[in-house]
Symmetry: C2
Subunit: 446 residues, 2 copies
């Protein structure tokens, strides 16, 4: 379905009625030595709607989940929120009761300047695990962020910078489309880099036995009017096809969080389903826009993963069930040997079929097809058909995987189910970054 | 239980009645340019018993399994064998019907010089997947190996070299002990390096839903007299505690194989269980010796894994069930972030508890203990107790993980089950080796 939406600037402040800011408050306590830029990256963001909004959220299914996730899990259930406060540099995970109190305190500090009930403020954190939040710094940061709110693209960019950790690039997007005769906008920002294989659900409970595994954070805003339940259903569908289908290193974080605020400032008739026939198109339009925004943000996370040099879309089809297709795609996308072969530009189908064979999917060697195409392309260069090497030359196959981005097509030819994973190569730079330097504890990742 | 066995030299030819050889027949078809040592590593080994032996074996549970594995799966069932032929440089996996015919032909070629039925010859391969075996080279190699058999340590060393791929060191061991009044010997050789997380079973069928995941090959010989069924039971117990508990990179190979031949040349009363009371001690002695040999060989594989600089024994206890303990240990042992932190000497318990939290094991953050000790040591330096950081200083913890070998202790404190994994760090050298060089296809791994 073609959806008539266009890309606009301003990400989370592109929709009407949203303000954002990002400040530096030295959450990593690096010191603020004059002349040093290193410690000056913004590390606290505030996103505020000028009016109450409906809210939906999805959270890590890691059994060890951070204090801010615990707070959000409760508050999203109410369906109403008006602000989100986010810090980077410290995950506030494995910080016990004090950590939970600190997460609550962050919402109170962010609520006070706007005279909001703190229950309508959501909170997220990302960074090192197991270190108490430096609350004096956080307090100063929130106070500054509340003063510096703005509704222009520069403010959104500052908020985007403030949620980054090992990200090398800010990740943001906004689109505009028509809904019930009104012009509506939907924007988002996100961060990723390492510990990236999200498996988020609305309740923190695992959706299935499938091992789902960043800290990734994504914050979405829209001026569409959407009922809370509908917003949650739409978000779940969008995340299932985007953030929950990416992997950088196969590690699922304690902090993964996606939140969306819908403040209704666009004045469209409220989306609510199930509902009258006329709304189906509108719901589809909103869903398509949300899917697009989430998928573009999710892909940006993979492309900017730690040390990543290649972006590979793993497309499994012909599995007996979706769970098997998913298991097959994840086994390939997370295989150290497959990922290093991508790094080297080696079209090594032996490692791919090996990973398929040990996955939880049913695989029959004599049925497996493996091939490559350009991103989204239909012209597939097959390296393996029905378990047998094709006549495609090594040189041609090397050319196919030399591209910075390509699609890997796997057909199991046993059924009708399929699954897609957006994956990355494993590089020396990933290892170098994550091994850190114990003589420089600030270099050690979360 | 203290077992009175001593280490002896000669590995697979230490037991009476065994001969071995290892030759170069250019299976990688590198050419044999004069003056080049590179292509001269031995690549074909032969192990022969001078009398019929009972046999037991365990094989990869990868659904995509190599032709030699298929041949062995059938033949081990007969319980009798007398020779093993092994090549490196080519896995003979994903090679279709021709591959299966080639594996059979290898056994025929090895059987002929000794006038054995080919059904009593077993076969194993390791190397690149998906390339047909160069049978002219293999034929010449087997003929040469059959001529060059010997029963001294030098011949065993040549066989050991011939099964190596990316291994940097030969791996061999032999022990001597008393059984039924006779002096008995048990020896073994193995290879590993990459694609190492074996999950082997006797039938190739998966023992459980637990994801078990090297090409690792191990060949054991003993002059003890052991009934085939007893030998299989003993081997299963030994492998469950050794080869099936190691991981280098989490990838399970298409070729993993462990074989043992017991030729009875020591003339002990045959071990057979269930049996009379008097034999229990003897069976325990044999089992203990086999456990020791398998565990020492398995550890050698991890220590010599591709790029490995640190050897970590992950000890999980207090899980609700063995399956959960196993899942917890494997999640930690295979986490890219945990493994890179080991590489960097970073005592990052946050990444460890994160991996526990997304594992299939039940984990309660507030119950988890994490600590370090010297290998096998009882003095544990705890970094986390009941989910809370201890007062152990960062400096002390760094010292604990700076060692080349250490134990990681994880107590879930929810039950009584435990599991151990022998694991390795993830280094830039692993990535560099496995990304290979597409301009030098011979550098590309299996």
């Amino acid at each position: 379905m073609k959806v008539p939406f266009k890309t606009v600037s301003g990400s989370i402040v592109a929709p009407q009625g949203f303000l954002a800011s990002g400040v530096f408050c030295d959450i990593k306590r690096l010191g603020t030595g004059k002349g040093s830029d290193k410690g000056r990256k913004r590390d606290l963001a505030l996103i505020v709607s000028t009016m109450p909004a409906t809210v939906a959220g999805l959270f890590t299914t890691n059994q060890v989940c951070a204090a801010p996730v615990k707070v959000c899990l409760e508050r999203v259930k109410t369906g109403v929120a008006q602000a989100i406060v986010v810090n980077s540099g410290n995950a506030n995970a494995c910080t016990g009761r004090q950590g939970y109190r600190d997460a609550l305190a962050m919402t109170e500090l962010a609520a006070a300047p706007f005279h909001l009930p703190s229950e309508q403020v959501l909170v997220a954190s990302t960074g090192r695990i197991g270190v108490p939040l430096p609350m004096a710094n956080v307090r100063a940061g929130i106070a500054a962020a509340a003063q510096l709110l703005g509704d222009d693209a520069a403010h959104a960019a500052e908020a985007t910078e403030a949620i980054m950790t090992s990200d090398t690039r800010p990740k943001q997007i906004a689109v505009e489309f028509k809904l019930g005769g009104q012009t509506v906008r939907l924007g988002g920002i996100c961060k990723g880099a390492g510990m990236i294989q999200p498996g988020m659900s609305a309740t923190g409970a695992r959706p299935s036995a499938t091992p789902l595994h960043a800290t990734m954070l994504a914050f979405l805003t829209t001026d569409a009017s959407v009922a809370a339940g509908t917003l949650q259903a739409c978000l779940q569908e969008a995340v299932a096809q985007s953030f929950n289908r990416i992997t950088v290193d196969g590690d699922m974080s304690t902090n993964d969080t996606v939140l969306i605020l819908a403040n209704g400032a666009a004045d469209n008739p409220q989306l609510r389903h199930p509902n009258a026939q006329t709304r189906k198109t509108e719901l589809s339009t909103f869903q398509a826009a949300l899917n697009h925004v989430c998928l573009e943000l999710a892909k940006k996370i993979v492309r900017d993963g730690e040390g990543v040099t290649r972006f590979v879309t793993v497309r499994v089809s012909g599995a007996r069930t979706f769970a098997e297709a998913d298991a097959a795609a994840r086994a390939v996308a997370n295989s150290a040997l497959v990922k290093t072969s991508w790094c080297g530009g080696d079209p090594n189908w032996g490692r791919i079929i090996d990973a398929l064979g040990y996955s939880a999917a049913t695989v029959v060697e004599e049925q497996v097809d493996i091939g490559y195409s350009a991103p989204g392309g239909r012209a597939v260069l097959w390296s393996l058909r029905r378990g047998q090497p094709t006549r495609a030359t090594f040189k041609l196959l090397c050319a196919a995987v030399a591209a910075k981005e390509f699609d890997l097509h796997i057909r199991l030819n046993l059924g009708k189910a399929g699954a897609v994973m957006y994956a990355a190569d494993l590089t020396e730079a990933y290892v170098d970054f994550n091994k850190g330097d114990v003589n420089d504890p600030a270099s050690l990742g979360g």
